[in-house]
Every structure is written in structure tokens, then in C-alpha cells.
């Protein structure tokens, strides 16, 4: 289930890409979900745990994938209980956040109104208000009323 909390909170990693660079594990990179996210967002191919082929940058390490994908991989695989700032993610990551939320209990932190309109129907619990939202329209209306953002 996806839970969303806006504003500054304890136990949140404000800049997940830096945390990722120092904490990621090799098997996270080669997991089929990561491979698919790297392909979709970065338009790149995971060759191995240590090598990604980017059409723009050429051969790169996992530390050079986009901040958005780094954040998504942390959301999926980090098991420390940390809450990651999804404002490091572009709107093109939104559908993957919804997907991860279907696979596990996921709480994300936001400092802006991420555009979930590209995601299919989704449900989420808005922790600032305690309200369950169903779909992008309800999410957007609820988010605009949350002053912590």
C-alpha cells in the first residue's frame, strides 16, 4: 500500500541519490524491476551489477543513473525503514512509485505535488490528513489543501 506524507518529517532521506551512492547493493541493480525502471526512465540497459549502457553517456556505473531511478530502487529494496523524498523523482517516475506501492508497504515523502496523472488508477493514504484517496483527481485536490507541502 502507498502512503504519502508531505513536508519535513523525521527519518526521511532528503536527497536519496546521495544515500543510494553509499548504500546500494549489487543485486538491487540486476533485479528485473530495476532493469525495467532503468530502461523506461533512463533509456539505458543494465549489462551487469557494475555496468549500465547509456545512449547519452556511454558505459556508466550505477552511481551515474538518474536520481529518480536511484530513489525508486531505494524505495523498492532498502529495508532500513527510511522514508525517501520522492521530490527527487520526476513525473516520469510516478507510475513506478504506484507499482512499488502495489508490491510492498511504501511510505514516501513529498515536498511538491508530484504528478501522478500518468499512473493508472491508484489508491494511497495521505498521512497528513488520514484520508484515503482513489485516483489522481482525489490525490491532487487533497495535496493542494495540505499546507505542510
Amino acid at each position: 500500500m502507498l502512503k504519502i506524507i508531505f513536508g519535513d518529517i523525521e527519518n526521511s532521506i532528503y536527497h536519496p541519490p546521495t544515500y543510494f551512492d553509499n548504500q546500494y547493493e549489487d543485486e538491487w541493480i540486476t533485479d528485473p524491476l530495476s532493469v525495467e525502471m532503468v530502461r523506461d526512465i533512463d533509456k539505458s540497459e543494465v549489462i551487469s551489477a557494475h555496468l549500465i549502457e547509456s545512449p547519452v553517456l556511454g558505459p556508466i556505473s550505477p552511481k551515474e543513473i538518474s536520481g529518480g531511478v536511484k530513489t525508486l530502487i531505494l524505495m523498492m529494496f532498502d529495508d532500513t525503514g527510511k522514508i525517501f523524498n520522492a521530490s527527487s523523482c520526476g513525473d516520469n517516475c510516478a507510475k513506478w512509485i504506484v507499482e512499488i506501492g502495489k508490491r510492498k508497504d511504501l511510505t514516501i515523502n513529498l515536498h511538491h505535488v508530484l504528478d501522478f496523472s500518468s499512473a493508472d488508477e491508484f489508491d494511497a493514504l495521505m498521512l497528513n490528513t488520514g484520508r484515503m484517496i482513489h485516483g489522481y483527481r482525489e490525490y491532487f485536490c487533497e495535496a493542494m489543501d495540505i499546507k505542510e507541502r
Binding site: 536527497h15 526512465i41 529518480g68 527527487s88 520526476g90
Partner: protein, 153 residues
């Protein structure tokens, strides 16, 4: 500092070319569009100069500003274009907004957050668009586009 400044940042693979028109410019947009790469190239060029292999062409000096001792550094910078990445927690503070207001520098800020303390125009919020290959077909050419509009600059 007033007016418009043309900036080219390039290495063998990438070329960014854009104009900075006002004292505050915001860059946001989808993941994997090259925002952090642009920032890293400017940081490298500012730190290592020609040794970086990154070429920055601009009438004004371009540099980055980071979390550590940012106040001390910023109060000694004048007449420069300063790039800031989204990992800086001070971006939302009133202290930073106050120093920007008094500053004679231009600021280019990479962030998706609304910086309520800073007076920036919706006209100066850009994304980065890959416009294709450049010259020798090895270099990818990137331009800015208005997030809230269609015009490229």
C-alpha cells in the same frame, strides 16, 4: 548584474546551450533529462578549469554553491552565475532568500520544490530537452524549454 547571458557547457559527449535572463532561474522536469549532469560539469569546470575537459563559455563566471559554509562563500561572490543542486537544504531558508535578494549574482536552481521565499517568475522555470546530436554526431545537444509554455530558448 543585469541582462541576458548566453551559456555553453560542453564536453566530448554533451553540449548544453541556453540563455539566463533573470537573477533567478529554476530548472526542473522529468528524471534522466541531464539536470544533475549539467550541474556536475559546471562544478568540475569551476574546480579544475581546463584540466576538467569541460568547456564553459559565458561572459560571466559560472560556478556552483554547496551546503558547506554556503553563507561564507556566497557573501564573497559577485557578478557570477551560480548553479545550485536540489540536495542543498538551505534553498528553502529565509536566510538564503535574503542573501539572494541582496546579491549581484544570478542563480540557477535545480529543484522541483516551490521555493516560497524566493521571487522567481513562472517564465523562468525550465526543463532540459535533448535536441539531438550535434556536429560530429557523437555529441548530444541539450537546450532549455519553458515548463509552462512551448518556446525553446
Amino acid at each position: 548584474m543585469k541582462g541576458k547571458y548566453h551559456v555553453i557547457v560542453q564536453n566530448k559527449r554533451l553540449r548544453y546551450e541556453f540563455d539566463i535572463k533573470r537573477n533567478i532561474t529554476i530548472i526542473r522536469g522529468d528524471s534522466a533529462t541531464g539536470k544533475t549532469t549539467l550541474y556536475s560539469m559546471i562544478a568540475l569546470a569551476a574546480r579544475l578549469g581546463d584540466s576538467s575537459g569541460v568547456e564553459v563559455q559565458c561572459e560571466k563566471k559560472c560556478r556552483v554553491l554547496e551546503e558547506l559554509d554556503w553563507k561564507l562563500v556566497l557573501q564573497n561572490l559577485h557578478d557570477q552565475i551560480i548553479f545550485l543542486d536540489e540536495d542543498n537544504l538551505f534553498l528553502k531558508t529565509t536566510d538564503f532568500a535574503g542573501m539572494v535578494k541582496e546579491s549581484d549574482n544570478y542563480f540557477v536552481i535545480i529543484t522541483r520544490e516551490d521555493l516560497a521565499n524566493l521571487p522567481y517568475s513562472v517564465e523562468e522555470i525550465y526543463g532540459i530537452h535533448t535536441a539531438g546530436k550535434y556536429h560530429d554526431m557523437k555529441q548530444v545537444y541539450n537546450k532549455f524549454y519553458h515548463i509552462y509554455g512551448e518556446n525553446h530558448i
